[in-house]
Symmetry: C2
Subunit: 333 residues, 2 copies
């Protein structure tokens, strides 16, 4: 089977630091190639892959202020679609732009919806000749037909297990009101535990006004964006990951990464969280700061080995790759 | 000859009020159709044209906050390119997005560059298989080959000539620092003449802080966006049009419209202005407020009939349509 993976070009695949769409695309490219699928990955040309690499962007537009992301993304999609007749399937990880041009794709098109940025992009989905995969049941639009929900998986190898819980709390992801970074500070303060914040600043004003004044290097530490190696170290050393999101998050890769380290999650029960966190097994689902503080206080009840094992069954990269390959066969065969 | 005009979809074609790209596309569609060319105009579906109309947008995205302009523009371009094999020529008025997908266009592609929004869009131009028309010599990029410069034309019928100069000054166009609206207020104040400001607010903060405090309904009047009929009335009643631009404007439709009414122009000598304004015949080219005030004081020296006649030779819609049709023939024949 010849498959084109049409990946995003905001960041390298896999990303140096942040880039969840690129991360998932990378795991899929490597996993499919390892299973003998003939994969061409359309991504930035500095990407690292065992698949065949093609594209037009020397590097990610998010890493280069001189590049206009809209322009390079369009050239990237056009280039991939220009080669589409060579493949049995084109698998789009790039949101709505390829859908607008779906009629120019000369192979069956499958789109993983990595998250709806807003209702105004739905017309491109509704009109396009593409099959859709949702990344959680919670993220489904009632206006679209879906071929499957396939939860993301991660490479468990990269996340070291630690049996003994650490003493601090950690919050991972973009520093943005959606992610509840300020709420995490409040939960940690009331729980009387130190908090480590990791992630790129996605809202500078929020960071400057709501986060930075609390950062003292002891009770609240801000590490910025941390790469894959440091990530496992930080997550495995924590007592719990806080995930007090203020929006219906389609999926939470950091949540699964934490579970993989054996570190349970205290998450607000929004969006995909009830699908991802198993109450009492891999963490606790809560609704406000008070519930979160109570959940942190009893976090020792969760068996860290069981947390990792359970997450491994549900969210390994192998499981994700198998799910996609099964779906590919139903489309191509 | 079968020609597809790929027009923008921000506004209706022709626009109700503002929309210079749609305005030029409209004049071209009507002029070519009148000359017997088989034209299909790809535009919003509420557009008015004697050509064949096609498209996917019910109305302009700039008129509907629920529409994501990027999404609808992409679907619009994809739809037009899906039909491209039916034409002898596709003439693009839509900036860089069609260029990114130029390989999907199955007819010769000609692009009128209505203005470079910035250097970051140039890669789409440089890589695309398209011929280019610049709308002024001043707007040419050194990195591109051009088939021609074709100055815009306007429908002189819509602009009433008035032999006697009025008593006030007028400034037309987007209210934005680029257009020098605040500078126009200063010029009028020093010249001791009333100023009428017409145009959509493109920079709300600039309008609120720099313009609105000067609007008193007498010395400075703000009329907002004015439609085609009112425009001719206002322009023909003025002593002069002020055009103290702060950027290298690719072309200035309002400048030509003013000349058509016999109303001379006092313009800053930037961008295309030295190509459009003929010193002493259709207006004066100046470099600062003091020179502008001096030019206004001697504006009676300009013969308004000669101003209109000269502009009519250089900037009629007929001249523009003839120029394009000649170019089409060199490409198609």
């Amino acid at each position: 089977m010849k498959v084109a993976l049409l990946g995003p070009v905001a960041w390298r695949t896999p990303p140096h630091h942040y880039g969840p769409w690129e991360q998932v695309t990378s795991l899929l490219a490597e996993g499919l190639t390892a299973r003998g699928v003939d994969v061409t990955l359309f991504a930035t040309l500095d990407s690292l892959t065992a698949a065949t690499l093609d594209g037009v962007c020397a590097h990610g537009y998010a890493e280069d202020p001189a590049m206009d992301g809209r322009v390079w993304e369009a050239m990237h999609v056009a280039h991939a679609f220009g080669r589409s007749a060579e493949f049995d399937l084109v698998h789009n990880h790039l949101d709505w732009l390829p859908l607008a041009f779906a009629a120019q794709c000369r192979a069956p098109l499958l789109t993983t919806v990595h998250g709806f940025s807003g209702p105004a992009i739905l017309p491109a989905y509704a009109r396009a000749r593409s099959r859709y995969v949702s990344i959680s049941d919670a993220d489904r639009s009632p206006d679209l037909d879906y071929a499957a929900t396939i939860h993301h998986g991660i490479a468990f190898d990269g996340f070291p297990f630690r049996a003994a819980a650490g003493h601090g709390l950690v919050v991972f992801g973009r520093v943005h009101p959606d992610k509840g970074t300020r709420t995490a500070i409040e939960i940690a303060r009331r729980a009387g535990m130190p908090l480590t914040i990791c992630g790129i600043v996605a809202d500078q004003r929020y960071f400057d006004e709501q986060i930075l004044p609390h950062v003292d290097g002891e009770q609240v530490v801000y590490l910025g964006s941390v790469g894959p190696e440091q990530r496992g170290e930080i997550l495995s050393s924590a007592a719990a990951l806080l995930h007090p999101i203020a929006f219906a998050e389609p999926f939470g890769l950091a949540v699964v990464e934490s579970m993989a380290c054996g570190t349970p999650v205290v998450a607000y029960a929004r969006g995909s969280m009830p699908e991802v966190v198993d109450e009492g097994v891999t963490g606790h689902l809560v609704h406000d700061v008070a519930e979160a503080v109570a959940a942190v206080s009893r976090i020792g009840d969760i068996d860290r080995q069981q947390c990792r094992d359970h997450a491994g069954k549900r969210f390994s990269a192998d499981r994700m790759v198998d799910d996609y390959l099964r779906l590919y066969h139903t489309i191509v065969d």
